[in-house]
Symmetry: C2
């Protein structure tokens, strides 16, 4: 038998812990050492906001596996509060400092895995070190925030950053009864989403009395004479806060790798190949610290998500054990819940496609119920499906709603993984009983609409194009007159679908007609009818419901 | 322009109505006539049990589209209470009787679609026509049952047939406060499921005080002197009932087709090709009345489901309009909810594979939480994944639980549709946040276990094989001793996983060791450990939780 391999893993949370335990299953004789500078390994970092929010009440629940369990169950040595300070690639050694004793040792490795994660960004703003300003990355961080909230009887909170983690923090602070204000530099919340989808998020937050400051940044923090805290914005506001959470984003922890001369990619993560090998021999890297290839666009991405980190850890274990596993990239599946809403996405957005220079795509909007309308309690799912116009290949989906959102996104995530087209969505055979869906599931409906476009049966147009074309086209609303009282599109003429065949003479043959209704279905019927009668028609995708994403009732203008 | 086509559609519910409206979108000028012998077209037949159960309270909700709406919106003529009595294929005519006037007419067609559906089986048993014995297929049927329940103040119900519709009826009668007894001739409930999965259903029904009579049939019905009703079983019971629902199954309505000489398949449905053409020129058929090809086994199936019927209707519209759409078969995706439980499946079962003569398959069992354990409220999903052992191709899944069941089945339904393998499930990138799932979603976990089998890293064995081998193997339970108090496997020896490395000498090298734990995960760890130390091991798939499906605590013996 060969000498057992010595494998050193730096960082023992998602990817690192997974690699360690899988490696043990593949190689009972390898010597495996996990080093972590924090006090815990294998903790549930995705649960931290919920621990702050007291949804998870027992801190012990967050500790998935203890060093003792690693030792007894897996024969894996774990050293917490041990920070790797230097890599010696030539000697295949790591310099490690024991944070308790201050002692420095060198650990030899046959294989080294870097799984250091990412650190919350803490910008050097005036007053950033005032008490009451927190970031959230570790169990001790969340414990400190809980203690602060309790001992200070905090009432007013400010969350800086309106991304996924920021909104989870807002949800959890709201759950504890705090007032919440979110400050976001971008024009929209949830910057990974397309702006008109993020608008639905904005509306939900406003309905739940969350204060919003979009397109504003933080200039600094200020303490009142009584020790009270204020957030000063770049637009000049001074917002009182009993607690501030910084959720601006994370930055890959690459200092160790960079100092050792490993290649760092342009997005700031460690560059790896599809077996998660870094540029140095016998050194692998996984998780939030690496750049991964986007499966849809082929671009390099930074993606701080637990699922991919775990899969990467498995791949590394396989490769170290002499197998040929590969990591096939990421597609950016994400989900987030707050104030009763679920927001989810997978694949590319219009934004990310444009950034990648892709122009062969089309978006369609739809608002199907999460189950049949005739069964009580149906909730709309607001969906945007993006696909290649030339061949129908699915590129991405964004979905927002109260029920059944993650299910539809998961189905489309699998479809994208398997390089499917909208025609595959059209004919998918999915679960249906009245309380679970519809004979035409939202996934099917999204595929049908998109397939109509790809087949050339339907021209769709986005409400975003209206501004440019308003004077040269006619807008036709085919809803029944009674429906218009709830809101109508300016300058649209109204002919109910049921009267359309008799009233064709009222429509122009020399002008493009853009047709709308409530959600787009009747407009589709109208488009087919009109086109076969010689009219030039396009369907305003998503109907009046989508119109309201570009023209909110509170008068805010979308960018 | 050509003369407009005349299209006659017999049956205006799922497939028929869908074909009609899609055809209108494709061809504004076709003449479209729907004939239905019932009083309604396009009603929500899947909703009928819930109308009986008063979950849906307004009958109008079930009527998706009226003849008037068909006429005004789609320029489609609908004649209800018009029964097609004869096909004249040579003349391309249908003989139609107006049930109100008794008048008989002939309708010429260029294209004819048969969408007559299926009729509930009503066996010619003694007393079958006594008042209070119902089948459920139409809106009037459900109205009659509701009236009977209300006017008779029914308290005790008997449902005959424990299939999907029978259980939906049990759920709905239970929802109205009635006592429910189910009589099922088979050894198990939900005959499409494998028996050990159906056992979980049995346990749930018993926990909700549903009376069960398995392996018993109905001999007849009896009226007491006061008009009270009794169900007499073949085993000799006489069960009092205020209402009886027959849910034995449905039979395709093929008399019209058969009388005209159309080919009927061996399962009793109309035989069609993949464009839904019958054996007669210009005659198509869709829905519950046809046999469709199973995508997984290639066998012909009868499947009374709305989703496939709708898709078939679309295909027929396309083909009549001169397009080349094809129907790619069915995979049998189904879902059913009762007493807080969701039961769902897609693809093949072990049963159906054996019936089709397939032997290259393996099943694995798992019981993951529907979301991470550390977030409150996680509920187990009991899953059985079936795949080809030779190459990992996914063949089917069955899943049962309280939350998130249909979502996982839908993802695997898409995977099967796209001819995926368990390796694709392993690396699927699905929605994860603590309240929505896990970094290793149940779908991933099912793929990982199966991939271990296909790669040869793990031998699994089913508890069903225990009986044959008991004397020649050793059973090793690696749970902690405290866990055994909740129940243990007879004759298993117990060595906790954490002690296994030190206690290897207690295990035999000359005997196969079958390893178990709670759900199978620790047993997998143990198997890897033991195998690398030279032992012959197999993982008892699903652990103690699956053991209980074969050895129920109430002592019932599984077949």
């Amino acid at each position: 038998m060969n000498m057992p391999k010595r494998v050193v893993i730096i960082g023992g949370v998602a990817g690192g812990a997974t690699c360690a335990t899988r490696l043990r299953r593949l190689d009972e004789h390898a010597e495996i050492l996990i080093l972590d500078r924090g006090p815990y390994v294998s903790f549930a970092n995705c649960g931290l906001p919920y621990y702050v929010g007291d949804v998870i009440q027992d801190e012990q629940k967050l500790l998935v596996a203890s060093p003792e369990l690693f030792r007894k169950r897996f024969n894996i040595e774990v050293r917490t509060r041990n920070e790797a300070t230097k890599l010696d690639l030539a000697a295949q050694e790591v310099e490690v400092r024991d944070l308790a004793s201050g002692q420095v040792r060198r650990e030899r490795y046959d294989a080294l895995l870097l799984a250091p994660g990412a650190a919350p960004i803490r910008p050097p703003l005036p007053g950033i070190d005032l008490p009451g300003i927190f970031t959230l990355r570790t169990v001790p961080d969340s414990r400190q925030i809980r203690q602060w909230l309790e001992t200070r009887h905090a009432r007013r909170s400010v969350v800086i950053g309106g991304g996924f983690v920021g909104l989870e923090m807002a949800e959890n602070l709201g759950h504890r009864g705090l007032e919440v204000t979110i400050i976001e530099m971008a024009k929209q919340l949830l910057p990974p989403l397309d702006p008109e989808m993020a608008e639905l998020v904005r509306q939900r937050l406003i309905a739940h009395n969350v204060g919003l400051r979009l397109e504003d940044g933080v200039a600094g923090f200020d303490a009142g004479p009584d020790g009270s805290l204020f957030v000063c914005t770049q637009k000049g506001e001074r917002i009182p806060a009993d607690v501030v959470i910084l959720s601006i984003g994370v930055r890959p922890e690459v200092s160790l790798a960079r100092d050792a001369g490993l290649v760092i990619g342009p997005r700031g993560g460690i560059r790896v190949d599809d077996q998660m090998r870094t540029s140095a021999p016998n050194v692998w890297a996984v998780g939030d610290a690496v750049e991964t290839r986007n499966r849809v666009t082929g671009e390099w991405d930074l993606l701080a998500l637990a699922g991919p980190a775990n899969r990467q850890g498995r791949v590394v274990a396989d490769v170290i054990a002499g197998r040929t596993s590969t990591f096939h990239g990421v597609q950016g599946t994400a989900v987030c819940g707050f104030f009763g809403l679920t927001v989810s996405m997978t694949g590319s957005t219009e934004k990310s496609l444009k950034r990648a220079g892709v122009s062969d795509f089309q978006s369609v909007y739809l608002h199907p119920g999460h189950h049949v309308d005739y069964y009580p309690g149906a909730k709309p799912i607001h969906m945007k499906l993006i696909f290649r116009k030339s061949d129908g290949r699915i590129l991405g989906v964004q979905a927002i709603g109260e029920e059944g959102v993650e299910r539809r996104v998961d189905v489309i995530a699998m479809a994208i993984q398997r390089q499917s087209t909208v025609f595959d969505l059209e004919e998918a055979e999915l679960c249906y009983a009245p309380q679970y869906g519809a004979a035409r599931d939202p996934v099917n409906v999204s595929g049908m609409i998109a397939a109509n476009v790809v087949r050339g049966d339907l021209d769709v147009v986005s409400w975003s194009e209206l501004g440019l074309k308003r004077d040269s086209i006619m807008i036709l609303d085919v809803r029944d007159p009674g429906e218009l009282q709830g809101g109508r599109v300016e300058s649209a003429i109204n002919i109910p679908l049921a009267q359309l065949r008799e009233r064709l003479t009222e429509l122009p043959l020399d002008k493009e007609i853009w047709v709308t209704c409530g959600v787009g279905q009747r407009a589709y019927y109208a488009c087919r009818l009109l086109r076969q009668n010689g009219f030039r028609v396009r369907n305003l995708s998503g109907g009046y419901q989508s119109y309201r994403a570009w023209h909110p009732l509170d008068g805010t203008q979308r960018g």
